[in-house]
Amino acid sequence: MKVAVVVFPGSNCDADVAHAVEVTIGASVEMVWHASESLPAGTDLVILPGGFSYGDYLRCGAMAARSSIMKGVKRFASSGGLVLGICNGFQILTEAKMLRGVFLPNRTLSFICRPCTLRVERDDTPFTLRYKIGQVVHFPIAHHEGLYYLDKDELDALEKRRQVVFRYATPTGEATDEANPNGALNNIAGMVNEGGNVLGLIPHPERASEPVLGSVDGALMWQSISEWIKGGGAH
């Protein structure tokens, strides 16, 4: 399996995510510089990693969404390729209009870095085959703008189309307000596009992919993707 990790100036989880997919599923990883116009031939998965692309001095992800490589990423996604945006990567996907919604500052107005629990909402996406609906997983969070926002009608439509894949939840799996670290609408932590091949996720699965890090729940995501690719994407 071939994974392309896009490196924007300011990305800081690029090496982490590359390490995670290498050690968990033995994927071959290529780091792709933001100024490239296209993805490496044979790419199975594109990851937009976390960090502060271009310093995020404008809106988070706004500059990165307009970089050269994003044309290639969009082409790849529109032909059904798998794209995963984590944290800043999710923000970039929304700025690039590959996913709906916008991000606002956390309701605490401060950066939050801590372990977090999520409830899995779907087990039929290429990213979540190895999870079960209702399963509670532990992924850490680290962000300043994680409040996912969408207007009411669009939010309802999103829910109706079952695009929400992960929700912030209590350890027993309830999506309560207390379990919501940033105020995201409907406790949304991760969602897919209508085609199901582009996932945006605010928590960091790469920080939960090895036993030594205290959680291996993230490894299930890499395994899911690997399984889906091996099956020719025919799930």
Partner: protein, 717 residues
């Protein structure tokens, strides 16, 4: 321009004239004023710093470089250093703290190392005071925003509150990086015929004279000091780090220097002096962000996010192309030639030409008069009000747990990304931070310690205790210490009693380091932390780095299991002098702290290391602030389990519960391993004090408190 207005003393001016064989011109005078400032020259402390032991079997690079390096095995080293950014943070808390983080990251980078972890020692004034709120908010945001954006995790640190820091907040920034030992870069490796290249942000007027500013007392009118504070840009730093590491990986860097304090002058003259070459800088080649800067301003600007690289001529094209990839300025601003000169040219004219070794190493040492404080006896006399028992023991422990100095600090460290780079195994909030070393599968253990209140009473014991506390914590968790870095935060050395405190504290630290075989590989001195109204407590800070071979060898805290037997090793009771108990209940430290006992410490360290290795214990915690009571409470809170503690000891309850000092720890042992545990501790005071279980913590019938109440107090909702 008079030398005195630039902060140079008459004898220093005379030494400059003698060294040059003539009077310096104005530009040269500016250069000397910065390079001979306390901050750059260590003129008041050089003599004291010689007391520190610098040798050790793991030491690869001792003091004198941008950072020290210790061997962490399999061809890898850890470069680390701690540095103060106190004065800028007092004036402009957000930028002061942010640029403190940025500067120490570049020091680590300058060794060719990948910055991997940060820690911060923050000392604030009275909790609740408006000025404290303003300063601490800015400082904490500054640390977080910079570290988060640059992608270096903040994995631990220390935060303390005391009125002495009201107008003198301390920001001590520590950074550690990993480096392949065959790729270490030094400032002493430049040779003649090479190019000096400036990479990074354009140079502006920010931060001119910052090093001199850091070397005097803070004036009341701090606004006038604003231009001396630099402005941080973590995004630019991230690009700079990536760019320099890429160049190091390509083997294109001969030598590298951070351009922090003293700017081009200190970085270029340091390379020249250490490598034994001349450096000729053409100031008009420096990319500027402001117009009309005078040559001395360009030479001394402390604009952030810049590095000076010494490269071979043949590599220039490569260097330019890598810098262009990262979108950074890359300007060849000078050359190296044989000799010992530091030459600045501007528009074809030589504006300064001085011996590099004189500029960097010629400042005469100062022996300030040293006298014990007149009120020392008074300080060391334990008055009745200091030992008064509280209204109730339960109230006492709850008050202590909820005091900002000892309460949960997650509200601070959750604002810092402490997990990026996915190495953090045990993060902030724990007495010892544990990081994995990806390249060799081993683990680094880090501690940061300071004990200003005990240093105030007895700076020798306080200094020794600071080091000992760190070493005890490492030994208890199973780490072998490799080396230490220190930050000596003190008020003005010009007052004899204050210089005495500095001298004694360093003697205490050095004694502990020598006796306990912990070499000092780097460090920093910050003096003049006082205003006309207040001055800081003597605050030496120690950061110690240790190594753990495998995760099974690491003995954590906060892992009590139902039915575990609890043991106290070390003497029951301690001293209340300078304790958390005094801080909370009488406000003023008084009395004589427990003196340093090298034999006892060594014996403790040996047994603690053996205990961790033999894996007989479930959980362990070295006693520190708050004594036995706080250690028990914290173990209980973290484990989510209560305990019944009951044991005989002659000490008074307040000493038993809250006394501090000396080597002590509590261990939780499964019943079937108790005999093996006691065997290891034979010949050292060890007492079976109780049993883990239930949802209450009770101690000797003095108090019985529900776990939920302890958690609530500690979390301070």
């Amino acid at each position: 321009m008079n030398h005195r207005t630039l902060g140079l003393r008459d004898e220093e001016f005379d030494a400059i004239v003698e060294g040059l064989g003539r009077e310096p011109n104005e530009t040269e005078l500016h250069l000397f004023s910065v390079m001979w400032s306390e901050h750059c020259s260590y003129k008041s402390t050089r003599r004291l710093l010689r007391l520190f032991p610098k040798e050790g079997k793991s030491v690869v690079q001792g003091p004198g470089e941008n950072a020290g390096i210790v061997d962490v095995g399999d061809g890898w080293g850890a470069a680390f250093k701690v540095e103060s950014h106190n004065h800028p943070s007092a004036v402009e808390p957000y930028q002061g703290a942010a640029t403190g983080v940025g500067g120490i990251i570049r020091d680590i980078l300058a060794m060719g190392a990948q910055p991997t972890a940060s820690m911060d020692g923050l000392f604030f004034g009275r909790e609740g005071a408006r000025s404290t709120r303003r300063l601490s908010d800015g400082i904490i945001r500054g640390v977080g925003d910079y570290g988060n954006c640059v992608g270096v995790p903040t994995v631990g640190g220390k935060t303390a509150y005391d009125p002495s820091y009201d107008e003198n907040p301390l920001v001590n920034a520590f950074c550690l990086g990993l480096v392949r030992l065959d790729r270490v870069i030094k400032s002493s490796t430049a040779a003649s015929g090479q190019v000096a290249v400036l990479i990074g942000s354009p140079t502006g007027r920010d931060g001119i004279g910052g090093a001199t500013f850091a070397s005097v007392e803070l004036a009341d009118e701090t606004k006038s000091s604003r231009p001396q504070v630099q402005i941080g840009d973590p995004f630019a730093e991230k690009l700079l780090v990536e760019c320099c590491l890429e160049l190091v990986g390509l083997g294109a860097v001969v030598s590298m220097q951070d351009m922090g304090a003293g700017g081009i002058t200190s970085s270029a003259s340091e390379v020249a002096a250490k490598s034994g070459v001349s450096v000729n800088i053409e100031l008009d080649r420096v990319p500027l962000r402001e117009e009309g800067m005078a040559p001395w301003e360009i030479a001394l600007s402390e604009s952030q996010e810049r590095m000076l690289l010494i490269v071979q001529k043949k590599d220039m094209e490569l260097v330019e192309s890598v810098a262009a990839k990262w979108g950074l300025n890359c300007a060849p601003i000078g050359t190296t030639t044989p000799g010992d000169r530091f030459v600045l040219k501007y528009k074809g004219n030589v504006v300064a030409d001085v011996p590099a070794s004189l500029l960097g190493g010629g400042c005469p040492e100062i022996s300030w008069p040293s006298l014990p404080p007149e009120d020392l006896n008074d300080r060391q006399c334990l008055g009745a009000e200091q030992t008064k028992p509280p209204k109730g023991w339960e109230d006492a422990i709850v008050s202590l747990l909820s005091h900002p100095n000892w309460a949960d600090k997650s509200w601070i460290y959750e604002q810092y990304d402490h997990m990026v780079q996915i190495n953090t195994i045990v993060g902030p909030g724990s007495p010892v931070t544990l990081l994995r070393i990806k390249p060799n599968g081993r683990f680094l253990a880090l501690v940061m310690e300071s004990d200003p209140w005990k240093c105030r009473l007895d700076p020798f014991s306080g200094g020794a205790e600071t080091v000992a506390k760190g070493l005890r914590a490492l030994a208890v968790c199973g780490a072998v210490p490799l080396g230490m870095t220190d930050c000596l935060n003190f008020p003005s050395p010009e007052k004899p009693d204050q210089f005495w405190e500095l001298e004694e504290a360093v003697r205490g630290m050095a004694t502990a380091c020598r006796e306990m075989a912990c070499p000092v590989v780097s460090g920093n001195v910050s003096l003049y932390n006082e205003t006309s109204k207040s001055k800081i407590l003597p605050t030496p800070l120690a950061c110690i780095v240790g190594l753990v071979d495998s995760l099974e060898d690491f003995l954590p805290s906060g892992r009590w299991k139902e039915g575990n037997r609890l043991f106290l090793v070390g003497s029951p009771g301690g001293s209340l002098a300078g304790s958390a108990y005094q801080h909370v209940f009488s406000g003023k430290p008084r009395g004589v702290p427990v003196p340093f006992d090298a034999q006892k410490e060594k014996s403790f360290l040996e047994r603690a290391a053996k205990t961790a290795k033999s894996r007989v214990a479930e959980s362990a915690l070295a006693l520190a602030g708050g004594g036995l009571a706080l250690a028990l409470a914290k173990e209980a809170i973290e484990s989510g389990k209560g305990a019944q503690v009951n044991f005989d000891a002659e000490a008074k309850p307040e000493l038993l519960l809250f006394g501090e000092g000396g080597p002590r720890a509590i261990y939780a042992i499964p019943p079937d391993k108790a005999a093996a545990f006691c065997h290891i501790w034979q010949g050292f005071p060890v007492s079976h004090i109780g049993k883990v279980g239930g949802s209450e913590l009770s101690v000797n019938g003095l108090f019985k408190v529900r776990l939920e109440k302890l958690i609530r107090a500690w979390r301070r909702p």
